[in-house]
Amino acid sequence: MLALALRRLAGSIPVLLAVSVVTFTLLYIVPGDPVTALVGDRASPETIANLRRELGLDLPVHERYLAWLKRALSGDLGRSWVTGRPVARSIVARVPVTARLALTAFLVSSVVGLGVGVYSASRHGRPADHVVRLTLLLAGAVPVFVAATVAMYVFGVRLRVLPVSGLGDGSLRHFILPGLVLGVYLSIFQARMTRSVMLEIIRQDYIRTARAKGLPERVVIWRHAFRNALVSVITLLGGSLSNLLVGSVLTETIFNLPGIGRFTVDAAYARDFPAVMGCFLFQSVVFVLANTLVDLGYALADPRVRLG
């Protein structure tokens, strides 16, 4: 089992390297000169030359890449061009905010998404199933930032029951609305996937056997069908991860939460390249590693993969 884990982790190394190359390329394809972009074209040639040396722009590309990669691996992502602070430290400071938002959303979507999916599948073809499918179809077309804005208007501006924006004192209250919005957004995908996985399982012979021997439907659905659906549902988490990361970028921006997503967007807006590259690298690495973990979880949950 440990060997399997190590093999999977080793397998993600080429992808991680490729990710680092793409991240590095982002800065390299900037039209014009990043230094002039930074100090303006009125700076003296001396200043420009100095800064160029400081940023290592006078070296050939592959040397710059290797130097950058080496520093990145030791946790040095450079300094922000805007604030002058180390990018790595800024990212670490923002992790807890994003983690709390993501965790809240994940919990909400696990309950709502799986619950709705199983319920809808157990009522297959009946009115309740049609209502759920129609709702999912309509909800799936609403962008998360529009849903977030409407939620903000209703609960924050009209009803005034929840804080609208910002972190405030950092209490959980400030995560309720963003967490719920993002959670419900994720639920749409999870419910849809869970439903189709469950429908496939419900058709199997052993479910018919379970029903035939007179088990209550609740036991058939939850103990027999759902437990087998869980294996496939774990892989679906992989699909939700991308939605979670992308959704949190948008949600943090709207609710003004100082997380990594918000940091990324601000950095992109200011064209603060060290910060953009740092955020980009950090989130992509988290994404790749999380996907590897999901793969591993799938392998562990399914004896055919684990032992085969």
């Binding site: 992808v15 490729a18 990710v19 793409v22 991240t23 982002l26 800065l27 394809i29 900037v30 039209p31 073809g125 179809l137 309509l138 799936g140 077309a141 609403v142 962008p143 930032f145 529009v146 804005t149 409407v150 903000m152 208007y153 501006v157 189709s196 429908l199 496939e200 991860l241 991308s242 990361l245 992308v246 970028v249 948008l250 921006t253 709207i254 990324t264 967007v265 950095a267 992109a268 807006y269 064209r271 390249f273 953009v276 980009f280 989130q283 992509s284 994404f287 790749v288």
Partner: protein, 272 residues
């Protein structure tokens, strides 16, 4: 039963998309005002007889802006999906048909692009090339092709073992001929479905990028950037967010319905 549900879905989707396309094409004739016409005296008017969707801070007519926004959003999403379609189908067909190192190289490339959450990649590109229509097109084309590529590769892999491909080769047909005349027509249905659904994703992604301020730049307005600018006036003028938001939802719903409906009609294997 699923076939029965597919047709109404496809028709409903096609109707919604026609509505959006009509807004995009006939916008200038339907719009009561020019989308950039300022009128500070009419700042932040709620929806009413003169302005069905209200006015924004500068007194611009929101209905006219939503109509013009259809043009921007639709043009960008369709072009981006076209890029994704061409690249995805070409690389996917090549990978599936030729196999070997071509397949290996293409699939590694797919792995790398898919190693990034889509919007993040788009944000990175917008940051490095600078926000604007060209970088949005590039970003959305780039995140769009790997899905199609995988799909086409899989279909082609299955097809190329079939007898009629062997027969074509036996009578002396070349690779390109076989790909164009025998392979691709047989993959047309799944490509059509994936492309229709892809347009919906592109509309959402363009809206998200523009919403973040990294897509279409003022004075041009897409639905996403309208929501972005409307957010400031949320407590006083929620219609600035609601109507462009609704427009996005209608367009995305249209492509999702049409795509899902087409799948039910065309591809019996994928029905539930």
């Amino acid at each position: 039963m699923a076939r029965a549900a597919g047709l109404p879905m496809a028709v409903a989707g096609a109707l919604l998309l026609t509505l959006v396309a009509l807004a995009a094409v006939a916008g200038p004739w339907l719009a009561p005002a020019h989308p950039d016409e300022l009128s500070l005296a009419e700042s932040l008017r709620p929806p009413g007889p003169g302005h069905p969707f209200g006015t924004d801070y500068f007194g611009r007519d929101v209905f006219s802006r939503v109509l013009y926004g259809a043009r921007v959003s639709l043009a960008i999403s369709l072009s981006a999906q076209l890029i994704a379609l061409v690249v995805g189908v070409a690389l996917g067909a090549a990978a599936g048909y030729f196999g070997g190192w071509v397949d290996g190289a293409v699939m590694r490339l797919v792995d790398v692009v898919m190693a990034f959450p889509d919007l993040l990649l788009a944000i990175g590109i917008a940051a490095s090339l600078g926000p604007g229509v060209p970088s949005v097109l590039l970003a959305l084309g780039l995140v769009g092709w790997p899905g199609l590529c995988r799909l086409v590769r899989g279909e082609v892999l299955a097809l190329k073992e079939r007898d009629f491909i062997d027969a074509a080769r036996a009578i002396g047909a070349g690779d390109l001929w076989i790909l164009r005349r025998h392979v691709l027509p047989n993959v047309a249905a799944p490509i059509l479905i994936a492309t229709t659904l892809g347009v919906g994703s592109r509309i959402l992604q363009e809206a998200s990028l523009s919403f973040l301020g990294l897509g279409v730049q003022p004075p041009a307005a897409s639905w996403g950037s309208m929501v972005h600018h409307g957010l400031r006036w949320l407590s006083r003028a929620p219609w600035l967010v609601i109507f462009p938001g609704l427009a996005i939802a209608v367009a995305v719903l249209g492509s999702n319905l049409l795509g899902d409906g087409l799948r039910d009609i065309l591809d019996p294997r994928l029905r539930d």
